[in-house]
Protein backbone atom coordinates (compact mmCIF):
# COMPACT_ATOMS: atom_id res chain seq x y z
CA UNK A 1 0.00 0.00 0.00
CA UNK A 2 1.18 3.50 -0.68
CA UNK A 3 1.52 6.29 1.89
CA UNK A 4 -1.72 7.37 3.49
CA UNK A 5 -3.38 10.48 2.05
CA UNK A 6 -4.82 11.16 5.47
CA UNK A 7 -1.97 11.96 7.78
CA UNK A 8 -0.08 15.00 6.60
CA UNK A 9 -0.63 18.07 8.71
CA UNK A 10 -3.81 16.87 10.37
CA UNK A 11 -3.46 17.69 13.99
CA UNK A 12 -6.93 17.45 15.44
CA UNK A 13 -9.28 14.52 15.67
CA UNK A 14 -12.11 16.09 13.67
CA UNK A 15 -9.85 16.95 10.76
CA UNK A 16 -8.35 13.50 10.73
CA UNK A 17 -11.76 11.85 10.90
CA UNK A 18 -13.19 13.97 8.09
CA UNK A 19 -10.23 13.09 5.92
CA UNK A 20 -10.76 9.39 6.56
CA UNK A 21 -14.41 9.69 5.57
CA UNK A 22 -13.59 11.66 2.44
CA UNK A 23 -10.89 9.30 1.29
CA UNK A 24 -12.30 5.90 2.23
CA UNK A 25 -16.10 6.04 2.47
CA UNK A 26 -16.65 5.15 -1.19
CA UNK A 27 -14.34 2.12 -1.15
CA UNK A 28 -15.80 0.98 2.15
CA UNK A 29 -19.30 1.25 0.74
CA UNK A 30 -18.34 -0.87 -2.29
CA UNK A 31 -16.73 -3.48 -0.07
CA UNK A 32 -19.78 -3.45 2.23
CA UNK A 33 -22.04 -3.87 -0.75
CA UNK A 34 -20.22 -7.02 -1.86
CA UNK A 35 -20.28 -8.30 1.72
CA UNK A 36 -23.89 -7.72 2.70
CA UNK A 37 -25.53 -7.63 -0.75
CA UNK A 38 -27.91 -4.81 0.04
CA UNK A 39 -27.38 -1.11 -0.66
CA UNK A 40 -29.33 0.17 2.30
CA UNK A 41 -27.57 -2.12 4.77
CA UNK A 42 -24.22 -1.42 3.17
CA UNK A 43 -24.70 2.25 3.98
CA UNK A 44 -25.60 1.43 7.59
CA UNK A 45 -22.51 -0.71 7.79
CA UNK A 46 -20.33 2.15 6.60
CA UNK A 47 -22.00 4.49 9.11
CA UNK A 48 -21.34 2.08 11.96
CA UNK A 49 -17.77 1.54 10.84
CA UNK A 50 -17.04 5.25 10.97
CA UNK A 51 -18.84 5.71 14.30
CA UNK A 52 -16.64 2.98 15.75
CA UNK A 53 -13.61 4.53 14.11
CA UNK A 54 -14.44 7.92 15.66
CA UNK A 55 -14.64 6.41 19.11
CA UNK A 56 -11.29 4.68 18.84
CA UNK A 57 -9.43 7.03 16.53
CA UNK A 58 -6.86 7.59 19.27
CA UNK A 59 -5.82 3.95 18.90
CA UNK A 60 -4.85 4.47 15.26
CA UNK A 61 -1.22 5.37 15.75
CA UNK A 62 0.03 4.86 12.20
CA UNK A 63 -2.04 6.69 9.60
CA UNK A 64 -0.62 4.45 6.89
CA UNK A 65 -2.61 1.65 8.50
CA UNK A 66 -5.88 3.61 8.40
CA UNK A 67 -7.34 1.93 5.36
CA UNK A 68 -6.70 -1.61 6.56
CA UNK A 69 -7.96 -0.60 10.00
CA UNK A 70 -11.26 0.66 8.55
CA UNK A 71 -11.76 -2.37 6.31
CA UNK A 72 -11.14 -4.63 9.29
CA UNK A 73 -13.66 -2.72 11.43
CA UNK A 74 -16.25 -2.96 8.69
CA UNK A 75 -15.70 -6.67 8.25
CA UNK A 76 -16.04 -7.26 12.00
CA UNK A 77 -19.18 -5.13 12.18
CA UNK A 78 -20.68 -7.20 9.41
CA UNK A 79 -19.71 -10.44 11.15
CA UNK A 80 -21.33 -9.32 14.42
CA UNK A 81 -24.78 -9.82 12.98
CA UNK A 82 -24.10 -13.52 12.50
CA UNK A 83 -22.89 -14.12 16.06
CA UNK A 84 -26.28 -15.03 17.40
CA UNK A 85 -28.59 -15.00 14.46
CA UNK A 86 -28.45 -16.06 10.83
CA UNK A 87 -30.93 -14.16 8.70
CA UNK A 88 -32.65 -15.96 5.85
CA UNK A 89 -31.59 -13.49 3.19
CA UNK A 90 -32.21 -13.98 -0.44
CA UNK A 91 -29.36 -12.30 -2.31
CA UNK A 92 -30.44 -8.78 -2.99
CA UNK A 93 -27.94 -7.37 -5.46
CA UNK A 94 -29.84 -4.93 -7.61
CA UNK A 95 -27.53 -4.87 -10.59
CA UNK A 96 -30.23 -4.30 -13.15
CA UNK A 97 -31.09 -1.02 -11.45
CA UNK A 98 -27.43 -0.11 -11.19
CA UNK A 99 -26.84 -0.87 -14.84
CA UNK A 100 -29.68 1.47 -15.78
CA UNK A 101 -28.31 4.21 -13.51
CA UNK A 102 -24.81 3.88 -14.86
CA UNK A 103 -25.64 3.15 -18.46
CA UNK A 104 -23.11 0.40 -17.99
CA UNK A 105 -22.00 -1.96 -20.70
CA UNK A 106 -23.36 -5.49 -20.84
CA UNK A 107 -20.05 -7.14 -20.08
CA UNK A 108 -19.74 -5.32 -16.78
CA UNK A 109 -23.27 -6.36 -15.84
CA UNK A 110 -22.50 -9.94 -16.84
CA UNK A 111 -19.33 -9.92 -14.77
CA UNK A 112 -21.25 -8.63 -11.75
CA UNK A 113 -23.73 -11.43 -12.20
CA UNK A 114 -20.84 -13.88 -12.37
CA UNK A 115 -19.35 -12.45 -9.17
CA UNK A 116 -22.63 -13.14 -7.40
CA UNK A 117 -22.13 -16.81 -8.23
CA UNK A 118 -18.71 -17.01 -6.61
CA UNK A 119 -18.44 -18.53 -3.16
CA UNK A 120 -18.01 -15.88 -0.47
CA UNK A 121 -14.55 -17.22 0.36
CA UNK A 122 -13.42 -16.51 -3.22
CA UNK A 123 -15.27 -13.26 -3.78
CA UNK A 124 -14.12 -11.54 -0.61
CA UNK A 125 -10.33 -11.67 -1.14
CA UNK A 126 -10.83 -10.71 -4.77
CA UNK A 127 -12.89 -7.64 -3.90
CA UNK A 128 -10.32 -6.63 -1.27
CA UNK A 129 -7.58 -6.93 -3.87
CA UNK A 130 -9.43 -4.99 -6.56
CA UNK A 131 -11.20 -2.36 -4.42
CA UNK A 132 -8.57 -1.92 -1.74
CA UNK A 133 -5.49 -2.60 -3.81
CA UNK A 134 -4.23 -4.86 -1.05
CA UNK A 135 -1.38 -7.34 -1.31
CA UNK A 136 -1.90 -10.99 -0.43
CA UNK A 137 -0.22 -10.38 2.91
CA UNK A 138 -2.56 -7.51 3.77
CA UNK A 139 -5.63 -9.48 2.68
CA UNK A 140 -4.40 -12.38 4.79
CA UNK A 141 -4.26 -10.07 7.82
CA UNK A 142 -7.75 -8.72 7.25
CA UNK A 143 -9.26 -12.17 6.68
CA UNK A 144 -7.09 -13.88 9.29
CA UNK A 145 -5.90 -16.58 6.90
CA UNK A 146 -2.44 -17.24 5.48
CA UNK A 147 -1.14 -15.49 2.33
CA UNK A 148 -0.86 -18.77 0.44
CA UNK A 149 -4.58 -19.37 0.93
CA UNK A 150 -5.31 -15.84 -0.30
CA UNK A 151 -3.29 -16.51 -3.48
CA UNK A 152 -5.15 -19.75 -4.10
CA UNK A 153 -8.53 -18.11 -3.59
CA UNK A 154 -7.98 -15.10 -5.82
CA UNK A 155 -6.51 -17.40 -8.48
CA UNK A 156 -9.61 -19.61 -8.39
CA UNK A 157 -11.92 -16.60 -8.24
CA UNK A 158 -10.47 -15.13 -11.44
CA UNK A 159 -10.43 -18.50 -13.17
CA UNK A 160 -14.08 -19.13 -12.31
CA UNK A 161 -15.09 -15.65 -13.41
CA UNK A 162 -13.36 -16.05 -16.75
CA UNK A 163 -15.03 -19.42 -17.25
CA UNK A 164 -18.44 -18.00 -16.35
CA UNK A 165 -17.94 -15.09 -18.72
CA UNK A 166 -16.87 -17.41 -21.52
CA UNK A 167 -19.87 -19.67 -20.88
CA UNK A 168 -22.21 -16.68 -20.86
CA UNK A 169 -20.90 -15.40 -24.15
CA UNK A 170 -21.05 -18.79 -25.85
CA UNK A 171 -24.60 -19.36 -24.60
CA UNK A 172 -25.80 -16.70 -27.01
CA UNK A 173 -24.29 -17.64 -30.37
CA UNK A 174 -25.85 -14.62 -32.12
CA UNK A 175 -24.37 -12.11 -29.71
CA UNK A 176 -21.92 -9.82 -31.44
CA UNK A 177 -22.88 -11.06 -34.92
CA UNK A 178 -23.51 -8.23 -37.36
Amino acid sequence: MSDSPVSSGMSNKQERYDALVTVYSADLFRYAMWLCRNRSMAEDLVQETFLRAWKSLHSLRDDKAAKTWLFTILRRENARQYERFTPGFVDDYDFDGIAAEEDQNEQVTQLRESMKMLADEYREPLTLQVIGGYSSKEIAEILDINPGTVNTRVFRARKQLMELMAAGQSSNPLEGVK
Binding site: S40, E43, F85, V90, V108, R112, R158
Partner: protein, 227 residues
Protein backbone atom coordinates in the same frame (compact mmCIF):
# COMPACT_ATOMS: atom_id res chain seq x y z
CA UNK B 1 10.00 -18.42 -15.02
CA UNK B 2 7.94 -20.59 -17.35
CA UNK B 3 4.54 -19.93 -18.93
CA UNK B 4 2.56 -21.74 -16.24
CA UNK B 5 4.21 -19.68 -13.53
CA UNK B 6 3.63 -16.49 -15.50
CA UNK B 7 -0.08 -17.21 -15.95
CA UNK B 8 -0.51 -18.22 -12.34
CA UNK B 9 1.06 -14.93 -11.32
CA UNK B 10 -1.36 -13.00 -13.54
CA UNK B 11 -4.38 -14.75 -12.08
CA UNK B 12 -3.16 -14.11 -8.55
CA UNK B 13 -1.96 -10.55 -8.88
CA UNK B 14 -4.31 -9.20 -11.51
CA UNK B 15 -1.88 -8.67 -14.38
CA UNK B 16 0.50 -6.63 -12.25
CA UNK B 17 4.02 -7.39 -13.42
CA UNK B 18 7.22 -7.61 -11.43
CA UNK B 19 10.74 -7.95 -12.83
CA UNK B 20 10.61 -11.71 -13.36
CA UNK B 21 7.24 -11.69 -15.10
CA UNK B 22 8.23 -8.69 -17.26
CA UNK B 23 11.32 -10.54 -18.45
CA UNK B 24 9.27 -13.63 -19.31
CA UNK B 25 6.67 -11.57 -21.14
CA UNK B 26 9.26 -9.92 -23.38
CA UNK B 27 10.38 -13.23 -24.80
CA UNK B 28 7.09 -15.16 -25.03
CA UNK B 29 4.55 -14.46 -27.78
CA UNK B 30 1.99 -16.84 -26.37
CA UNK B 31 2.03 -15.14 -22.95
CA UNK B 32 1.84 -11.73 -24.60
CA UNK B 33 -1.53 -12.71 -26.08
CA UNK B 34 -2.62 -14.12 -22.74
CA UNK B 35 -1.48 -10.97 -20.97
CA UNK B 36 -3.39 -8.75 -23.37
CA UNK B 37 -6.62 -10.68 -22.66
CA UNK B 38 -5.85 -10.62 -18.98
CA UNK B 39 -5.40 -6.85 -18.99
CA UNK B 40 -8.77 -6.41 -20.66
CA UNK B 41 -10.36 -8.70 -18.10
CA UNK B 42 -8.80 -6.75 -15.23
CA UNK B 43 -10.15 -3.51 -16.61
CA UNK B 44 -13.61 -5.07 -16.80
CA UNK B 45 -13.25 -6.48 -13.30
CA UNK B 46 -12.30 -3.08 -11.88
CA UNK B 47 -15.46 -1.58 -13.42
CA UNK B 48 -17.64 -4.42 -12.17
CA UNK B 49 -16.41 -4.20 -8.60
CA UNK B 50 -16.67 -0.40 -8.47
CA UNK B 51 -20.39 -0.26 -7.71
CA UNK B 52 -21.85 3.24 -7.71
CA UNK B 53 -21.76 4.99 -4.35
CA UNK B 54 -24.96 6.68 -3.14
CA UNK B 55 -25.00 10.40 -3.57
CA UNK B 56 -24.24 12.28 -0.37
CA UNK B 57 -22.83 9.28 1.50
CA UNK B 58 -19.78 11.19 2.68
CA UNK B 59 -21.89 14.06 4.06
CA UNK B 60 -24.28 11.69 5.80
CA UNK B 61 -21.43 9.85 7.50
CA UNK B 62 -19.98 13.14 8.75
CA UNK B 63 -23.43 14.35 9.88
CA UNK B 64 -24.24 11.18 11.80
CA UNK B 65 -21.06 11.41 13.82
CA UNK B 66 -21.95 14.94 14.87
CA UNK B 67 -25.01 13.59 16.74
CA UNK B 68 -23.01 11.26 18.93
CA UNK B 69 -21.48 13.68 21.43
CA UNK B 70 -24.84 15.42 21.96
CA UNK B 71 -26.42 12.15 23.02
CA UNK B 72 -23.52 11.33 25.25
CA UNK B 73 -23.64 14.69 27.03
CA UNK B 74 -27.34 14.36 27.60
CA UNK B 75 -26.89 10.91 29.07
CA UNK B 76 -24.18 12.19 31.31
CA UNK B 77 -26.46 14.95 32.59
CA UNK B 78 -29.29 12.50 33.13
CA UNK B 79 -26.96 10.21 34.98
CA UNK B 80 -25.93 13.05 37.28
CA UNK B 81 -29.50 14.18 37.91
CA UNK B 82 -30.74 10.76 38.76
CA UNK B 83 -27.75 10.05 40.96
CA UNK B 84 -27.12 6.81 39.27
CA UNK B 85 -24.27 4.69 40.43
CA UNK B 86 -20.85 5.48 39.07
CA UNK B 87 -20.86 2.25 37.07
CA UNK B 88 -24.18 2.96 35.40
CA UNK B 89 -23.15 6.55 34.76
CA UNK B 90 -19.98 5.46 33.01
CA UNK B 91 -21.92 2.98 30.93
CA UNK B 92 -24.29 5.70 29.76
CA UNK B 93 -21.45 8.05 28.98
CA UNK B 94 -19.38 5.63 26.99
CA UNK B 95 -22.04 3.30 25.67
CA UNK B 96 -24.10 3.63 22.50
CA UNK B 97 -27.23 5.80 22.37
CA UNK B 98 -30.21 4.11 24.04
CA UNK B 99 -32.49 2.18 21.75
CA UNK B 100 -35.27 4.80 21.65
CA UNK B 101 -32.86 7.51 20.51
CA UNK B 102 -31.24 5.17 18.04
CA UNK B 103 -34.65 4.49 16.49
CA UNK B 104 -35.49 8.16 16.13
CA UNK B 105 -32.08 8.91 14.67
CA UNK B 106 -32.55 6.06 12.24
CA UNK B 107 -36.05 7.16 11.29
CA UNK B 108 -34.93 10.76 10.69
CA UNK B 109 -31.64 10.02 9.02
CA UNK B 110 -31.53 11.27 5.46
CA UNK B 111 -31.03 8.19 3.36
CA UNK B 112 -30.88 7.67 -0.33
CA UNK B 113 -33.00 4.51 -0.27
CA UNK B 114 -35.41 4.69 2.65
CA UNK B 115 -37.99 6.86 1.06
CA UNK B 116 -41.68 6.24 0.94
CA UNK B 117 -42.80 5.06 -2.47
CA UNK B 118 -45.73 6.68 -4.25
CA UNK B 119 -47.53 3.33 -4.37
CA UNK B 120 -47.99 0.71 -1.65
CA UNK B 121 -45.29 -1.95 -1.67
CA UNK B 122 -46.47 -5.38 -2.88
CA UNK B 123 -47.17 -7.60 0.11
CA UNK B 124 -45.13 -10.44 -1.41
CA UNK B 125 -42.04 -8.24 -1.38
CA UNK B 126 -42.73 -7.04 2.16
CA UNK B 127 -43.14 -10.66 3.29
CA UNK B 128 -39.85 -11.66 1.70
CA UNK B 129 -38.08 -8.91 3.65
CA UNK B 130 -39.74 -9.60 7.01
CA UNK B 131 -39.46 -13.38 6.73
CA UNK B 132 -35.71 -13.13 6.20
CA UNK B 133 -35.58 -11.97 9.81
CA UNK B 134 -38.21 -14.40 11.04
CA UNK B 135 -41.21 -12.05 11.15
CA UNK B 136 -44.59 -12.49 9.50
CA UNK B 137 -46.94 -9.61 8.81
CA UNK B 138 -50.64 -9.60 8.16
CA UNK B 139 -53.05 -6.70 7.70
CA UNK B 140 -50.73 -3.84 8.38
CA UNK B 141 -52.16 -1.66 5.68
CA UNK B 142 -50.40 0.71 3.36
CA UNK B 143 -46.68 -0.05 3.53
CA UNK B 144 -44.63 2.41 1.49
CA UNK B 145 -41.16 1.11 2.30
CA UNK B 146 -39.71 -2.06 3.79
CA UNK B 147 -36.06 -2.94 3.95
CA UNK B 148 -33.36 -4.26 6.22
CA UNK B 149 -31.30 -1.99 8.39
CA UNK B 150 -28.93 -2.21 11.30
CA UNK B 151 -29.77 -0.87 14.75
CA UNK B 152 -26.85 -0.97 17.17
CA UNK B 153 -25.14 -3.37 14.80
CA UNK B 154 -28.06 -5.82 14.77
CA UNK B 155 -30.33 -6.54 11.85
CA UNK B 156 -33.82 -5.12 11.83
CA UNK B 157 -36.68 -4.52 9.42
CA UNK B 158 -37.34 -0.83 8.76
CA UNK B 159 -40.80 0.04 7.44
CA UNK B 160 -42.73 3.18 6.57
CA UNK B 161 -46.46 2.76 6.95
CA UNK B 162 -49.16 5.20 5.87
CA UNK B 163 -52.40 5.49 7.83
CA UNK B 164 -55.37 7.85 7.54
CA UNK B 165 -53.95 9.74 10.53
CA UNK B 166 -50.37 9.99 9.32
CA UNK B 167 -47.22 8.06 8.57
CA UNK B 168 -45.20 6.11 11.11
CA UNK B 169 -41.91 4.22 11.11
CA UNK B 170 -41.92 0.65 12.29
CA UNK B 171 -38.90 -1.38 13.36
CA UNK B 172 -39.02 -5.15 13.80
CA UNK B 173 -35.97 -6.05 15.85
CA UNK B 174 -35.49 -9.78 16.41
CA UNK B 175 -32.24 -9.24 18.28
CA UNK B 176 -32.96 -6.15 20.39
CA UNK B 177 -34.79 -6.99 23.55
CA UNK B 178 -36.64 -4.63 25.89
CA UNK B 179 -37.94 -5.84 29.22
CA UNK B 180 -41.27 -4.05 29.12
CA UNK B 181 -43.24 -1.53 27.11
CA UNK B 182 -41.52 1.83 26.92
CA UNK B 183 -43.04 5.06 25.64
CA UNK B 184 -40.73 8.05 25.34
CA UNK B 185 -40.69 11.50 23.81
CA UNK B 186 -37.47 11.89 21.80
CA UNK B 187 -36.46 14.74 19.50
CA UNK B 188 -40.04 15.75 18.70
CA UNK B 189 -41.19 12.18 18.23
CA UNK B 190 -43.01 9.59 20.28
CA UNK B 191 -41.19 6.27 20.46
CA UNK B 192 -42.99 3.17 21.67
CA UNK B 193 -41.08 -0.07 22.13
CA UNK B 194 -42.39 -3.35 23.44
CA UNK B 195 -41.16 -6.94 23.67
CA UNK B 196 -42.16 -9.14 20.77
CA UNK B 197 -40.96 -12.67 20.06
CA UNK B 198 -37.38 -12.98 21.24
CA UNK B 199 -36.75 -9.34 20.40
CA UNK B 200 -38.84 -6.22 20.23
CA UNK B 201 -40.84 -3.87 18.05
CA UNK B 202 -40.42 -0.11 17.87
CA UNK B 203 -42.78 2.56 16.55
CA UNK B 204 -41.81 6.14 15.82
CA UNK B 205 -44.64 8.65 15.32
CA UNK B 206 -44.68 12.45 15.35
CA UNK B 207 -45.03 13.83 18.90
CA UNK B 208 -48.57 14.74 19.85
CA UNK B 209 -50.14 12.08 17.63
CA UNK B 210 -53.21 10.69 19.34
CA UNK B 211 -53.22 7.54 17.27
CA UNK B 212 -50.15 5.80 18.64
CA UNK B 213 -52.07 3.37 20.88
CA UNK B 214 -54.40 2.35 18.05
CA UNK B 215 -51.44 1.81 15.79
CA UNK B 216 -49.59 -0.15 18.44
CA UNK B 217 -52.57 -2.47 18.84
CA UNK B 218 -52.74 -3.00 15.11
CA UNK B 219 -49.03 -3.79 14.95
CA UNK B 220 -49.26 -6.23 17.87
CA UNK B 221 -52.00 -8.10 16.03
CA UNK B 222 -50.24 -8.03 12.67
CA UNK B 223 -46.77 -9.28 13.60
CA UNK B 224 -45.85 -12.83 14.51
CA UNK B 225 -42.48 -14.55 14.67
CA UNK B 226 -41.17 -17.81 13.34
CA UNK B 227 -37.95 -17.73 15.35
Amino acid sequence: MNCVEFRRHCLQEGAVLDQATSEHLEGCDSCQRFFQQQTQFESLLASAVALPVPEGLESRVKLRKSFAPRWQLRHFAMAAMLLLSVGAGLRLFYGPAPLDQALVAHALEPHSYREAAEQPMPIAKVSQITQALGAQITELGDIRYAGHCRIHGRLAVHMLVNTDMGRYTLFLMPEQSVEERISQQVEGHRVVMFPSGKGSIGLVVPAGSDWVETTEEQVRRAVSWTI
